[in-house]
Structures are given as C-alpha cells and as structure tokens.
Assembly symmetry: C2
Homo-oligomer: 142 residues x 2
DNA sequence: CTTGATGCAAACTCTTTGCAGTACC
DNA sequence: GGTACTGCAAAGAGTTTGCATCAAG
C-alpha cells in the first residue's frame, strides 16, 4: 500500500522525501480520518521537526494525485482526510468519537435518481455520509 | 414564511430587529444557498450599514432555533446556509454555478442500510448530496 | 547540478468575541 | 428602563504563500 503510493508519486515526477513517506505511513495507520493537525501531531511523536505547512502541502499534493480524499464533516474539526485507493464508497461516521468506517456497498442508484428528478439536472456524482454510533460509543451511552 | 419565522423567534423571546428581519428576507429570496458573506453582500445592496458579524450572529441564532441549516460543501465556499422549514430532504448541487435545488424525495432507506451494515454501527441519520450540472450550466458547457 | 521540497514567518480567509453604545419590548 | 442586539475592532482558528535553504534525482 505504501509502496503503491510511493510508486505512483515517483511515476509522476515527485521526489520521495522522508517527510512525504512518513505522512503517507501515518495516514495508513490512522483508524479514524484525521484532520491535518491530528496527522501532524501524530507524526511529531516520532519526527518532532516536521512542520504543519509541509503536512498541508503534501495532503494537497496527494489529493491532486488522487490518492487522498478530503471529507467535510459538519461541525468543528470539519476537514478530515482519508486514503482513497478503494474507489467509490461511503462512510459510517460516529457522532460520539468521530471515528469513520468505510461502507463498500453503495445504496444510491444514480440512474433511478436521474429518472426521478427529470432531465433538468444532470447527475454526475453524489456523496453520502451515514451518522450514528459505533459499538464503543453505543456501550458508553448506556 | 417570513411571518412564521418571526413568530417563532418572538415566541422564544428574541427581539425582532430590522437587521434580523432583513437577514431572513434575504435568505428566503436566495435561489442558491449563500455563504455568510454572500448573504451579507446581498443585504448591503439595500442596507449598506449591516456588519458581517451581525450576519454570523443571526445565522447561528437561526440555526439554534432550528430555522436554518448549515451545509458543508466540498471545496471552497464550503459553508452555506439554507432555510430548513421543509424537514428531511437532499440537494442537487450544481458544480458549475453552485446553485442548489432541494430534492423532497429521499432515496435512502435507513432500515435497509442497517440490515446491510449489521449491528455494529447504529445508524441514526444521513446526509446525501447529489452533484452535477443544472440546465443553465449544461447549456454553457456545450 | 538542477529542480522540487522543506521550514520559517507572515499573510489570508472565515468566524467568533469583548466592549460600549443603541434600540426593541 | 432593562436586556438583548448592533457595530466596531480585535482575536482566533485553519490554511496558504513567499522566500531562502536544502536535498532527491
């Protein structure tokens, strides 16, 4: 997974710096989708010298490369990042702890929707987020 | 519609100032979902003296009152506001001009989804945005 | 050696807050 | 008249940019 991404960057002429490598590694390792600064703090535990702007710059680079998605959650800590190697999918976002799981299954049939909405609007994509509580947070609230 | 909202505010003990009234009127009038500053600029065409912080303060108040929804769109101009008198619905967001239409019909069956995802995650809500091109922007791109 | 990447600092945008004066109820 | 609201200015958060230095290819 790390190798694939490195290879993709290399093939597009990007240099593979230690910072870049660590950012990708950290992103792979996260179980929730991190904000830019969460990612930076995580990396600083082993590499205290990295700067937040480098994290931002590389996240934007990875987004341009199609390796990372940026997700806008409602509320605070709204901008989070995820690896996007898996193609189209959706998320189960926990309202308790903020953890987000992926849902491979896509329940949205765009063709059906296009029929239902008529021809005025041409649908070319969608985003669906499911909100609720994960196992841990369900247990905590009881 | 304006009256209903004013009444609701009054019943909760809020004062009805000219600014407040104009903000609501402008919000009703918009055909796309405006950002806070778009809303402010629109209001300034007739009331140049209004300040952006008042717009923000009142939008937050209206959100607390349940009269307005805040929607996070991906990319720039991410935070937009809509009146939320119609209950649960989704949006057709134009990638060309940013205009957003409402879709009353909800194609997401949460019960089905709950079955499909199992019991680990308890679904209590969802958000769905459809992206594409409105009639105008479709025509322009040809 | 060349070009792109980094770190620092500062700029920028969006949003919130403190405060004194104002106006709605 | 009292309390909530306004405008101003300034503070904060999050993100981007300019620049000199550094290192990957």
């Amino acid at each position: 997974m790390l190798k694939d991404i490195i290879e993709k960057l290399r093939s597009k002429g990007c240099k593979i710096t230690p910072q870049r490598r660590i950012i990708i590694q950290s992103l792979i390792k996260f179980t929730k989708f991190p904000t830019a600064s969460e990612l930076c703090n995580d990396i600083r535990q082993t590499n205290p010298e990295i700067s937040l702007d480098t994290v931002y710059r590389n996240l934007n680079l990875l987004i341009d490369m199609g390796v990372v998605n940026q997700i806008n959650l409602p509320g605070k800590d709204a901008n989070v990042f995820e690896l996007s190697l898996e193609g189209h999918h959706h998320h189960l976002v926990c309202l308790g702890c903020g953890a987000a799981d992926c849902l491979d299954y896509c329940p949205v049939d765009e063709k059906e929707l296009q029929k239902a909405t008529g021809l005025k609007f041409e649908i070319i994509g969608h985003s669906l987020e499911l909100y609720g509580y994960c196992e841990k947070c369900k247990a905590l609230s009881k």
